[in-house]
């Protein structure tokens, strides 16, 4: 072992003059500074760390435990093993209904939002004057669309004496209570979600503006028409953004709650037609006070979202084009 490797061997930290600035043990110099740096880093991380542990990790673990208990909120939980999970899939008709309603919601809502937001983004990308204003206007609904106020507004718009029926009446068409009809209630909620396309649109718009103009010029010279340019240039180049938006929308749609809650007064009606999964989960937890059962539902939802996201990532290798590969 050399002297420098000795644990307590002092090292001179010298300035240009050769005068020792301070004398510290060689091995403590690095580690002490490192520790000090780490301490500072941990201090900066502490708020986030506390948040992730106290607000996310611990409640998740608690909910995992509660999903194996019978817990009526008032009182103490009692261990029931897998009973909640078995009951979900074997004897709860409304659970199956809520899955079916949510799947319909996701299957219609996600493609429609993608389609609508991409269409508007393409339209706005054509060098319109006042683009910033249009972009802001279209973005506003996505800021307020999930609010209770907009849910109430939607209820009035699609109500029996609402704006939609008033417009239909001009054309001699007799309207109906769209929100209060089991056939039309879910489409009304989907329409509200599609209306909040602004966030996806802004992301699409950013992606469209990244495509070099020279690609389109070259294609035009080669005789490609507008559709061909869109199909062969635009779409492939924005597939990473389509993928990104799809995953985000998918996750949000599976967890959708507020709009269905507001338009159905928290019931998921009429006749369970708007009983989205999260709404049924809420009913079990806070109306019927079956917190253990609701926790099991939450974990089933988490797994379902995880599987759907994993499926998206797996499929992305076949349709997402990354320019650097």
């Amino acid at each position: 072992m050399s002297s420098l490797d000795s644990p307590n061997n002092p090292v001179l930290i010298a300035g240009e003059t050769g005068v020792p600035a301070r004398v510290m043990p060689r091995n403590r110099t690095g580690s002490a500074l490192k520790r000090a740096d780490n301490r500072a880093a941990y201090m900066f991380l502490l708020p986030w760390l506390a948040g992730i542990i106290l607000i996310t990790a611990l409640p998740m673990l608690a909910s995992l435990y509660l999903s194996f208990t019978d817990y009526a909120v008032i009182g103490l939980p009692s261990w029931v093993g897998l009973e909640n999970y078995i009951r979900l899939f074997t004897s709860d008709r409304r659970f199956i209904t809520s899955i079916w309603v949510t799947l319909k919601y996701v299957c219609f809502s996600v493609p429609l939002v993608l389609l609508f937001s991409l269409t508007v983004a393409v339209a706005l990308n054509r060098g319109l004057r006042g683009l910033a204003i249009y972009r802001s206007l279209f973005y506003v609904p996505s800021l307020i669309g999930a609010s209770v106020g907009i849910g109430l507004l939607w209820k009035e718009v699609f109500g029996e004496r609402g704006v939609v029926n008033a417009i239909l009446a001009w054309f001699g068409v007799a309207g109906r209570g769209w929100i209060n009809n089991p056939t039309f209630a879910l489409p009304s909620v989907i329409a509200l979600n599609v209306w909040t396309f602004g966030a996806s649109m802004v992301i699409f718009l950013a992606a469209l503006r990244q495509i070099p103009e020279s690609y389109y010029e070259a294609a035009s010279i080669d005789g490609a028409n507008a559709w061909q340019r869109f199909r062969r240039i635009t779409l492939p180049l924005i597939t990473p953004v389509i993928f990104f938006n799809t995953v985000l929308l998918l996750i949000n749609s599976f967890q959708s709650f507020t709009q269905a809650f507001v338009v159905s007064n928290g019931r998921g009606g009429p006749v369970d037609s708007t009983l989205l999964y999260s709404l049924y989960l809420y009913q079990q937890a806070f109306q019927q006070l079956q917190m253990g059962y609701a926790s099991a539902m939450a974990w089933v939802l988490l797994i379902a979202i995880g599987l759907a996201t994993a499926l998206m990532f797996w499929s992305s290798r076949y349709w997402v084009f990354y320019g650097d590969r």
Binding site: A72, V73, I74, E160, G177, N180, N181, R267, G269, P270
Partner: protein, 448 residues
């Protein structure tokens, strides 16, 4: 002499001291006991709209003026979120000291770790239940027999109707409806009145999905709604209920199914009754005043009145009766308890407070106060009618014992089951089977 003088001085001293003590004692005793002793901050929670909030605030101010050492923190919410909040508060042992409670929800919370059993406080005179009928007090007990709430208002359910529509119908030859009328007679009355109504108006709201109406139907036919935590009404009787309303709906006497759902959740301002689009509906009579006020705005000239539910074939009255009162949170500290009990006594017995509240959340539980309100010329006519109808039917009412989660379960399942029938997704029999099985399932879950 000196001694005498001294002794006289001593006597004078004692006399003066005694007089002073007596004066101070008398002065002290003339101050209400509460005012000289009560201190502390307590929380009081209730449900209701702006009118009730304002009245409650005035009563709290009155109490705080009389008890300057006490401060009451107000916690209010609408009816449905009120119970959700109370549940969460109870979970965290953070419930208010004074909690407005309802007999229909009591079973869910009636446990010593959530609400304080009140029998001892009543027995030693701390809580005053004098004048409250024993039957009303009994309905405030939990399944364990403990008293958990001091009732201050008794509520009941009835029908409301548009008086002008009835007058027009009478002019057209429709026979007046005189109580006690049975369910068939009531249906015939609605059928007769339908052709006399303005275009687009219906004779009645479809009550097939309404728990209050269903309870009246079941009890007026001699059956019980619940037996402990079991659904006790028969399948045949529930089928007859669904058929009763389906027949009226198919004859055009009620709204469409969509209209029925809309009407069920409508604000008074939007309701068919207030807007002259409907002749009759079910609303609690304590809302008569607010319904009339709104009607004056949206449909000037129309007057709304209230009448009891129909009786059964043999004349049995099926009306449910419940009570609202104040419970004490189990987490209320010994220091807060005197102010809390004084507040409950004040709310329940103080005449000035009762005059402010005007039976806003149920007819005041003490009959003498109710009579005084009805006879007071300053009381709104709608509230007088509310009290008079209560006094007319109270002796024949049949209070339902609602098990834990029972009201929530009945509302949820009856709504969905009848809706499925009205929208043609289930047959009447299938709807009733769903009603009974899912109601029992929810009751079993709540009872575990």
């Amino acid at each position: 002499m000196h001694i005498l003088e001294k002794g006289g001085g001593t006597r004078r001293f004692f006399l003066a001291s005694s007089a002073l003590a007596l004066t101070l004692g008398l002065a002290a005793s003339s101050i209400p006991a509460s005012a000289q002793e009560l201190t502390g901050d307590i929380r009081f929670s209730w449900w209701g709209g702006q009118v009730r909030n304002d009245k409650t605030d005035r009563i709290i101010q009155l109490f705080e003026q009389q008890n300057p050492g006490v401060s009451i923190t107000r916690e209010t919410a609408d009816f449905a979120p009120y119970w959700e909040r109370l549940t969460i508060q109870s979970t965290g042992n953070n419930q208010p000291c004074a909690i407005t409670m309802q007999s229909r929800w009591l079973a869910t919370y009636a446990r010593p770790d959530i609400l304080m059993p009140l029998d001892d406080l009543v027995a030693n005179g701390t809580l005053d239940v004098s004048g409250i009928p024993e039957a009303v007090v009994s309905a405030a007990r939990g399944a364990d027999g403990n008293l958990y709430m001091i009732p201050h208002g008794v509520f009941y359910f009835a029908l409301m109707y548009n008086e002008q529509m009835l007058e027009n119908a009478a002019a057209a030859g429709v026979q007046p409806l005189v109580w006690p009328y049975n369910w068939d007679q009531y249906a015939d009355h609605l059928r007769a009145i339908q052709p006399t109504l303005p275009e687009g108006a219906v004779a009645t709201h479809n009550m097939g999905r309404e728990p209050d109406a269903f309870v009246s139907w079941v009890q007026s036919h001699g059956e019980k709604v619940f037996d402990g935590s079991k659904a006790a009404f028969s399948r045949d009787l529930a089928i007859a209920w669904f058929n009763y309303w389906e027949a009226l709906r198919n004859e055009g006497v009620t709204e469409s199914p969509e209209g029925m759902v809309t009407e069920n959740s409508a604000l008074v301002e939007e309701s068919n009754l207030a807007n002259g689009r409907g002749y009759a509906t079910n609303r609690p009579p304590n809302q008569l005043g607010s319904v009339q006020t709104v009607t004056n705005t949206v449909n000037p000239g129309a007057t709304i009145n209230t009448r009891p539910y129909p009786v059964g074939p043999d004349g049995t009255v099926g009306m449910d009766l419940g009570s609202n009162g104040i419970a004490i949170g189990a987490n209320c500290t010994a220091e807060q308890l005197p102010a809390t009990t004084a507040w409950i006594n004040f709310w329940t017995h103080n005449e000035e407070a009762a005059a402010i509240y005007q039976s806003d959340n149920g007819v005041v539980a003490i009959p003498e106060l109710a009579t005084a309100q009805a006879e007071n010329p300053d009381t709104q006519p709608t509230q007088v009618r509310h009290i008079e109808l209560y006094q007319q039917v109270v002796d024949t009412a049949q209070p339902v014992f609602w098990p834990a989660g029972g009201y929530q379960a009945m509302t949820d399942v009856l709504n969905r089951s009848y809706d499925a029938v009205a929208f043609g997704q289930l047959s009447v029999e299938e709807g009733v089977d769903q009603l009974i099985s899912e109601l029992q399932q929810q009751l079993d879950q709540a009872a575990r």
